[in-house]
Amino acid sequence: MTDDAVRVRGLRRSYRDTVAVDGLDLTIAHGEVRALLGPNGAGKTSTVEILEGHRPRDGGEVLVLGVDPARADVAWRREIGIVLQSTADGAELTVAEMIRHVARYFPRPRGLDETLTLVGLTDKRDSRIRKLSGGQRRRLDVALGIVGRPRLLFLDEPTTGFDPVARRRFWETVRGLDTTVLLTTHYLEEAEALADRVTVIADGRVVAEGTPDTLGRRDLATVVWRDGREQTADPAAVVARLSAAYGGQVPGLSITRPSLEDVYLDLIGGSR
């Protein structure tokens, strides 16, 4: 009955006396890249693990690719790709052996060469996994997440610990994928670079949702001059009006737009 890749209504989950997820709603369309942002302890990991079918929930309605993950079966798992947060498995295997092994679980996997190219590990094909750098290991994890051609890919803080160059390369990899992605991250520039839409959660609830450039009224610029300030979607018009009023130079003029980080800190600030 649903055409969405993910549909969550009123999700709840508590651990002893702390409420991790408190009535969360989330809808992700097919083909969308969605970033889930929030401070530590906001309920990101709990939410994602419930969607992955790794964690039971206390309440709410969850459909992932039309199936309740709490009743996930092998057929559903074939459509899902998971890139785990921190892994150290298969240390003694080579990159190629590990990818081939994981590919065996899926009915129509990507070829080894195609997968290696997608994540940029072609020259590490025969290296032992134990010898990979942190960034290479992460790209291998992505390779293992996408080798089965999933319709939905979970990326949980994929670039933590990356240097800037590795992070850019990784973004290229994700942009090259043709699949729905749910990304959790601490890096706002990562959300901005990858996501079609951004959901900010705090205290287990959604506090804002939108495209990266309109989230939290980010589309409004603030025009400040000596005698006043104004928020506007069309700063050029305001400046033109002021310029006419002052007969040329506007004294103390500045136009600023909040960065995604400003908006984000503002949004979660209220919950702290």
């Binding site: 057929a75 240390a91 295997l93 092994h101 679980y105 032992r128």
Partner: protein, 265 residues
């Protein structure tokens, strides 16, 4: 792919990783061989009324201890490690029934255990002139003791894997009970009949003592029986105790097995 197919794919990966991890290979294979060689060379003499030397007496017991090591210790450490390094978490996210993982482990244990038994028998034959089981019925005894012993110790290993908090502590957590049990079961001691009474009583509760006794009954002539605790191989009792541990081990597995580590419940 079928569960069995995925299970054998797991076994392939498990075996590759096992052979490439030198520490594990050394611990699993070299330690029993070194112990057998040292102890066999230290003990000398022939038991009165039989052609059996102390070293020959030691070999079947050491084979039993070897089997316990490649099943109980190997599985306990292996599963704790898989839980710690993310292997189990990854598998839970893949389209596979959990049974495929266990089939992979069983095949790994089967291959490693067979290699261990061969290696220790070879050392026994080459260094200490151990005669191989002399008749089909003795081979049969060896067969069923081996089968029951492997199943019981494997199930206990799977159950005990839950005791280890991390991969790092697993080796210690698994080896301590193993070594203590080996002593209590009279593995490093000949003849078993000379063990203190309380040791025999505790040892008789656990499967290792019976597996060792069963292997001795397959390899050694009946003329050695006066050196045993009882003047009989007690095959019925051996089968009973080992079967009881198989069932108990299975129940323990089903009640204690955890896919996740303790900290991330």
């Amino acid at each position: 792919m079928t569960t069995l197919g995925l299970g054998s794919a797991r076994a392939g990966v498990e075996l590759r990783q096992f052979w490439r991890e030198r520490d594990a290979v050394v611990f699993t294979f070299a330690l029993p061989v070194v112990l057998l060689t040292l102890l066999g060379s230290l003990f000398s003499g022939v038991y009165p009324g039989s052609p059996v030397t102390s070293a020959q007496y030691l070999v079947p017991s050491m084979i039993a201890a070897g089997v316990a090591s490649t099943t109980f210790v190997n599985l306990g450490v292996g599963i704790a490690t898989d839980r710690d390094d993310g292997t189990l978490k990854r598998l839970r996210g893949l389209p596979t029934p959990p049974l495929a993982y266990l089939i992979g482990k069983i095949l790994l244990v089967a291959v490693v255990t067979a290699a261990e038994v061969l290696l220790l028998s070879l050392v026994g034959v080459l260094l200490f002139d151990l005669p191989l089981p002399a008749s089909p019925s003795r081979w049969l005894t060896f067969g069923w003791v081996f089968a029951l012993g492997v199943v019981a110790c494997s199930l206990l290993g799977v159950a005990a894997s839950a005791l280890a908090r991390s991969a790092r502590s697993a080796a210690a957590v698994m080896n301590l009970p193993y070594v203590v049990l080996a002593f209590l079961s009279g593995i490093y001691y000949t003849p078993v009949g000379a063990l203190p009474d309380w040791v025999i009583r505790i040892g008789s509760v656990f499967p290792l003592k019976w597996m060792a006794q069963g292997f001795r009954s397959a390899f050694l002539p009946d003329s050695i029986l006066p050196q045993e605790v009882v003047r009989s191989w007690e095959h019925g009792r051996t089968a009973l105790v080992l079967t009881a541990w198989c069932i108990g081990g299975l129940v323990l597995c089903l009640t204690t097995f955890r896919w996740r580590g303790r900290q991330s419940s």
